[in-house]
């Protein structure tokens, strides 16, 4: 992407006002988004993102400058403005970079960005038409196919020079079912850290049908009753509960400044002993996987909670300085415009000891949350909320009528104590997680779990 000598010069300038560490992050991203609506390919959004971010540290302080001007002058100006933001002075130092080669554990077979547009529109249309044709009540289908090739480069004042390419592909279908002047919706949106070979084992037709089925279920659902009850949360996107309620509280971003309810609890029992939770950025081809993080460190498998005991946090360079802990390969950012911070990769609750059928059978009266929606959390207090996209009442150990409009609210530290049954069908689902360093792809996951008591918002 850039000449080694130029990067060395930039780092030297960045360090010239007394910084103790400097880093250059370069990015060239090509993305292609094909959108479908109303039976037709509607729009194609095709973009190139190109730029550089320079970060300088002095102890636990950082300054960050970024630019899309990648001319020599533009790059040096960017390094200069970072240095000037830190302090006054001008004593450039000499940096010698050594290129480090990495092993690509996520090789791409069919580059999705440069692939023939016609092939891509065919894939998208087969998914969307499958949703439309699923029922006469499906009144509208929107879909998109998103393909991204994200090339990055990291160079730092410790001499590291490393580059990588992250490719990802995702198809999303959203179906609307209408009857008697009422609309209900359903969606499905699988993605992988792969090229178009993702569709060798994910059927676009099934993605479309799945979205349509959820919309139809919701169309005949009544509103969920409100109150506290036992809830069984299904695998896949059900893992958003751990992501939101606990994962964010384990990021050094919040732990490092004392803004997390998980501060100072390493080695302590924080969850039910059936809960083991892992963040693993190394799973081949997974949505949240990358070879190296955005500070150039290899990703790794981090056990966060083991049999209920808190084992570790997700730590980036700044977090490492704040906490005095080793970095864990979790530093991520949406693009060069963002200063990176500790983020999740593929985060999930591992399989547990309980049989799935026993979990449902154990609930006399409660909610079965088959498909979760998004949510948010306050890391300081652990207060969270999630919406339930597809839910059913459970009566006498049996899954009964569908209900809509439900949400789950509670606090992270309490719910992970209250997960009292953990099933055995671990699966993951894809999301885009938003935080201070922008929106990054993350996998959430879990097997079917039971939460013994949680507030269900309904009406």
């Amino acid at each position: 992407m850039f000449k080694k000598e130029l990067l060395e010069e930039m780092l030297g300038v960045a360090m010239s006002t007394g910084g103790d560490f400097a880093e250059v992050f370069g990015e060239h991203t090509r993305s292609n988004l094909i959108m479908f609506v109303d039976g037709k390919i509607d729009r194609i959004n095709d973009s190139v993102l190109s730029g550089v971010g320079v970060r300088v540290f002095l102890g636990q302080r950082t300054v960050y400058a970024s630019t899309s001007d990648i001319s020599r002058e533009g790059l040096l100006r960017c390094a200069r403005s970072a240095a000037d933001a830190l302090a006054e002075g001008n004593a450039p130092i000499s940096i010698c970079l050594n290129r480090k080669n990495i092993t690509d554990i996520h090789p791409v077979k069919i580059n999705p960005v440069t692939a023939n547009i016609g092939n891509k529109t065919d894939i998208l249309k087969s998914a969307c038409f499958a949703a439309k044709e699923h029922s006469e009540l499906i009144s509208q289908v929107q879909g998109n196919l998103s393909c991204v090739e994200h090339e990055i480069l990291v160079a730092n004042s410790e001499g590291l020079l490393v580059g990588d390419s992250h490719t990802r592909t995702r198809i999303a279908v959203s179906a609307v079912a209408s009857d008697n002047g009422e609309n209900q919706s359903g969606s499905a949106s699988p993605g992988r850290g792969m090229g178009l070979e993702m569709f060798d084992f994910i059927s676009p037709v099934e993605v479309g049908k799945s979205a349509a089925k959820t919309a139809l279920v919701n169309l005949r659902a009544g509103y969920c009753e409100a109150g506290q009850m036992t809830v069984a949360i299904e695998n896949g996107f059900g893992g958003v509960i751990f992501h939101e309620a606990c994962g964010h509280s384990l990021e050094a971003t919040s732990v490092g400044i004392g803004m997390s309810e998980m501060c100072g609890k390493l080695g302590q029992k924080v969850a039910n002993e059936k809960v083991t939770a892992i963040d693993d950025g190394t799973i081949p081809g997974a949505w949240g996987s990358v070879n190296i993080d955005d500070e150039g460190n290899p990703t790794q498998r981090n056990v966060l909670i083991e049999n209920g005991i808190l084992k570790g946090y997700m730590v980036d360079r700044l977090g490492s300085r704040r906490l005095g802990m080793a970095m864990t390969g979790n530093s991520r950012r949406q693009s060069y415009s963002y200063e990176p911070t500790s983020r999740m990769t593929n985060t999930f609750i591992a399989n547990g000891p309980d049989k799935n059928e026993d979990i449902i059978a154990s609930i006399e009266y409660g909610l079965y949350a088959k498909q979760m929606g998004g949510g948010s959390v306050n890391p300081l207090t652990g207060a969270f909320n999630f919406s339930v996209n597809e839910g059913y009442m459970i009566r006498n150990g049996k899954i009964c009528e569908p209900v809509r409009g439900a949400s789950l609210i509670g606090t992270g530290s309490k719910i992970i104590q209250d997960i009292d049954m953990v099933g055995q069908n671990l699966d993951t689902a894809q999301g885009m997680c938003g935080s201070s360093s922008g929106s990054v792809p993350t996998d959430v996951g879990q097997p079917l779990i039971r939460v013994k008591k949680i507030t269900v918002g309904g009406r």
Binding site: K40, V63, G227, A383, T455
Partner: protein, 447 residues
């Protein structure tokens, strides 16, 4: 970064490719921000970014592509990609490169002279120190943020239309973290603008809000009269703003389809879209397609006057664009979006509105609106926090309850609005606003 340096080669490439109708949209932003932690500047960032979007009509279809790489070579690739994309479009939307409106509004933008690094840092530290001085319960984690941003937009097209505008946004945010009676709480206050008075107000507000949350209790499930404070009501409006999009309606994704001219809200509800709101830094005279913008009452005394349209969605229903074809960034496609979009204030003060409610809940916080609100159905179920109100007075803090309802029913059941409209922070040219709003008998799920 130099748009002028590549502008000519881009236009030459377009002509070379035999294109008759094309448009170039350039956006360039620069911004700086300073953030504090533990009484020091913990982070400072500056950003320069920008790029070009190119749109062209090929065979009656609109193609587009965008890039941040401003080189002559890239301009060639940009034109080729836009043409290739146009060939794969199937939409029967009318593809229009706009020739220009007769008249564009004059703007009255406020002036905020750019601050240098030292001034920004000082302002952030002043705010931080003000927050710390507010209360003995303030703890680490408390932070102040100051940002300034300026954006230049240029739109030129094959009809000879040339438009440009400059937008500057400055703002400050205070996050107060407090620890009292063994409980930690945080609150956030954010306003656009700079100034000493604002520093004091933000510090006071964030600290008071954080302290007020300490010791919050829970509430029994049931039906309650509710006042959404203005900041929260504008967030609800934001979550459901796409229902006012003519494009969404055309696609059957808004239940307001076919409702223009009908009564859809209570008599007291007037919803205004104002692209040139006086005093605001984010005014614009033209939209992302070059159409002149203007102020309109989207809902007037409960009646839906008009939805919002861009050129293509208006054409579908035989109307004219309302000047609402916006671009979130240079790389975003044109989409329908409002400007200063706000519920007009009523006649009561905030306290008079509380008094008129008598008993109920005053909601000061809604969380996860992006997940808990469905604009296609209008349903929402949102985690909330606020205060119990008895005899028209704010009493104890309450938390961890959800308020559920349906947006289309909610706007019908608004009983009264306070006079003072609170505006949020701009996202592009879009700013939402609302006053404190009283709604009777909403579903609340608590303990």
């Amino acid at each position: 970064m130099n748009f002028e340096a590549v502008e000519n080669s881009l236009v030459a490439e377009a002509k070379n490719a035999g294109l008759e109708e094309y448009e170039v949209y350039f956006m360039e932003s620069s911004g700086t921000s300073a953030e504090t932690l533990k009484g020091e500047i913990s982070s400072f960032s500056s950003e320069v970014s920008g790029g070009i979007s190119f749109r062209c009509i090929v065979g009656g279809k609109m193609g587009s592509a965008s890039t941040e790489l401003l080189t002559d070579e890239e301009m060639k690739a940009l034109v080729a990609r836009a043409i290739e994309n146009a060939k794969n479009i199937e939409s029967d939307d009318k593809a229009v490169i706009f020739a220009g409106s007769e008249k564009y509004a004059e703007l009255t933008l406020p002036e905020f002279p750019a601050k240098d690094t030292a001034e920004l840092k000082k302002l952030a530290l002043d705010l931080h120190n003000k927050i710390t001085a507010e209360s003995e319960y303030i703890i680490d984690g408390t932070s102040a943020t100051v940002i300034q941003n300026s954006t230049r937009i240029v739109l030129i097209n094959s009809h000879g239309l040339e438009l440009s505008t400059d937008v500057g946004v400055v703002g400050m945010a205070a996050e107060a973290v407090v620890s009292k009676d063994g409980e930690n709480q945080a609150a956030f206050a954010l306003e656009s603008g700079f100034g000493e008075e604002l520093v004091g107000n933000l510090a006071k507000k964030a600290t008071a809000d954080a302290l007020a949350k300490i010791g919050a209790g829970e509430i029994e499930s049931g039906k309650y009269d509710v006042i959404f404070c203005g900041k929260q009501m504008k967030d609800i409006l934001s979550a459901f703003s796409s229902v006012f999009s003519g494009r969404s309606a055309n696609l059957g994704l808004s239940l307001l389809k076919g409702k223009e001219g009908e009564k859809i809200a209570a008599d007291c509800v007037t919803l205004i879209d104002d692209p040139q709101k006086k005093g605001s830094a984010t005014q614009t005279a033209f939209d992302g397609e070059g159409v002149a913008t203007y102020t309109k009452n989207v809902i007037e005394n409960g009646v839906l006057n008009t939805l919002l349209y861009d050129i293509a969605s208006a054409d579908k229903v035989g109307k004219e664009s309302t000047g609402n074809g916006q671009r979130g960034s240079y790389a975003s496609p044109v989409s329908v979006a409002p400007y200063h979009f706000y519920l007009a204030g009523g006649s009561l003060s905030d306290d008079e509105l509380l008094a008129s409610m008598g008993d109920g809940i005053y909601i000061t916080e809604l969380k996860g609106l992006h997940a808990g609100a469905n604009s296609v159905t209008g349903d929402f179920s949102i985690e909330s926090a606020g205060f119990r109100v008895r005899d028209g007075k704010k009493c104890e803090a309450i938390k961890s309850f959800t308020v559920a309802g349906n947006f289309f029913e909610l706007i019908k059941s608004i009983e009264a609005l306070a006079a003072d409209v609170k505006f949020g922070f701009a996202g592009g040219f879009t700013v939402f606003g609302a006053p404190d709003t009283l709604i009777r008998q909403m579903s609340v799920a608590g303990k």
